[in-house]
């Protein structure tokens, strides 16, 4: 059935920390690797070494430049570069599921993961139209819709060491910018992170109720701006240069070389 469950027992999803993501695309590569070699149709590429390379990806990293408005305190605020990984948000009110004419798309009652049963998918593409986030991509070789499975074949996989039972993108992230957990449990790592850091929904006005949350970037140090009055830098005395002029042999060498 493509009607959505009224509620799910667990709400598995990701927290993506826009403050720590360095934009290395390792999650893109590991996602493509795992999901090409494991469950479902492989993520194909068209002309990967040709003139117009293109391919199916379940996770892509965008980069945005954010320019704060100038104010009297900050006359020339520096723009901030934010790397922005985007994959399926496993929405509670997933519009992609209800539009599916065959029942191939469904949201699981036990953990809230949104999946595609590829043997029922007719490749009409309507679910990709219904998704505001661009989380679904039709595979050009297989003609079926592909999307993030939250690595459903890893997280419950008892053949893997316990440390690996998280989505491939989370496991591989060198910056620790991706966190996996159960949002239905208020004591879980992801629920706490969301509460502490003010986790955001993308496009809340689309009323999709995304499970995945994004942690906004924290304010950056601004070296080109005057220091706010009253701030004491306790490390500054220790970081002052210890010696200004070289003495002894180095001093002689310095002067001699200067004369040449």
């Amino acid at each position: 059935m493509t009607t959505l469950p009224a509620s799910t027992t667990r709400k598995l999803g990701l927290v993506i920390d826009l403050d720590t993501c360095v934009g290395c695309h390792a999650c893109v590569v590991s996602c493509k690797g795992w999901n090409t070699e494991n469950y479902g149709a492989p993520l194909s590429d068209q002309q990967p070494y040709g003139a117009a390379p293109s391919g199916t990806f379940l996770n892509r990293v965008h980069s945005y430049e954010v320019q704060p408005l100038a104010s009297s305190a900050m006359p020339h605020p520096a723009a901030q570069l934010v790397h922005f990984p985007k994959s399926c948000l496993h929405c509670e009110d997933a519009p992609c599921v209800t539009v599916c004419p065959t029942g191939a798309s469904y949201k699981r009652v036990e953990d809230g993961i949104v999946l595609v049963n590829e043997s029922n998918c007719i490749g009409c593409g309507l679910c990709a139209w219904a998704c505001p986030y661009g989380a679904r991509e039709m595979d050009a070789a297989e003609g079926v819709m592909k999307k993030c499975t939250l690595c459903v074949d890893r997280i419950y996989n008892e053949n893997l060491p316990e440390v690996d039972r998280v989505p491939a993108c989370v496991r591989t992230c060198p910056a620790g910018a991706r966190h996996f957990g159960d949002f239905a449990d208020p004591e879980s790592n992801v629920s706490k992170l969301t509460a502490e850091r003010g986790g955001l929904d993308l496009m809340p006005e689309q009323s999709t109720k995304p499970v995945n949350k994004y942690l906004p970037p924290r304010p950056k140090d601004r070296l080109d701006q005057p220091k706010p009055v009253g701030e004491i830098d306790i490390l500054a005395p220790f970081l002052a240069p210890v010696i200004e002029e070289p003495k002894g042999f180095l001093g002689w060498l310095d002067k001699t070389l200067e004369k040449l």
Partner: protein, 290 residues
Amino acid sequence: MHPAPSVIVFTTLSGLGFGLLFWLGLGLPAVTGWVAFAFFAIAYALAVGGLMASTFHLGHPERAWKAFSQWRSSWLSREGVCAVAALVVMGIYGAGLVFLDERMALLGWCGAALALGTVFTTSMIYAQLKTVPRWRTPLTPALLIAISLAGGALLAGQVSAALILIPIAGVLQILWWVRGDGAFAASGTDMATATGLGHIGTVRAFEPPHTGPNYLLRELVFQVGRKHALKLRGIAFGLGYAVPVLLLLVPFSHALALVAVLAHVAGVAASRWLFFAEAEHVVGLYYGKR
């Protein structure tokens, strides 16, 4: 949105075909025998031809029958169910007219309702999408139903009905265009809400995820041809609505009626091309595009 030729052909022709079936179901014109056969053959060629064209854009057309299962939740599934039901009911009704000279009026009314239902369910596939603000309005089903009824009346030779319905469709078309031009801005979705970074400052797309295009950009962020949108609107309005009305006002001849039908179909096809090409999907915002 990518204006796939298969979908444009489907919605244009099947809309016209189901519109004709609607009038035939009402017994307007009240035809029997070979004349009825000719009318029904045209209606079925348009409706079924359109449906066949729509399967060309499927990744797996051989599984299309599975699309009848989710009528409880999916407008696309409802469309499939309605279309088949309309074709079956009208097939029995038409067989009665052609072979038995017998008009089963109740069956005809049911068939007319199902034909109209098919056009309505088709329009709701688009009108339901919050992701495409230009489509998400009650004007979308109103426009598509008006075009279908007007085109059907034209084909069925219902001149007085066509003279009322074509101008109604034309007015709805203009309202739909005018409302659509401000729809994206009015939707409240912009780069700030898409990225959640609006509280820091103005968000600009700096680098896309990959240097090449992808399925999303090809399918949902189609931008080619928008610069001719205004000219095409003029052509669509002129051919689709103005010319047929003028031709119907002069003394009737079959040749002029044929020209009126062809002009109407060409105009509606142009309007349908714009329906897709001008529609902006919110996912374009992630790429800094509309």
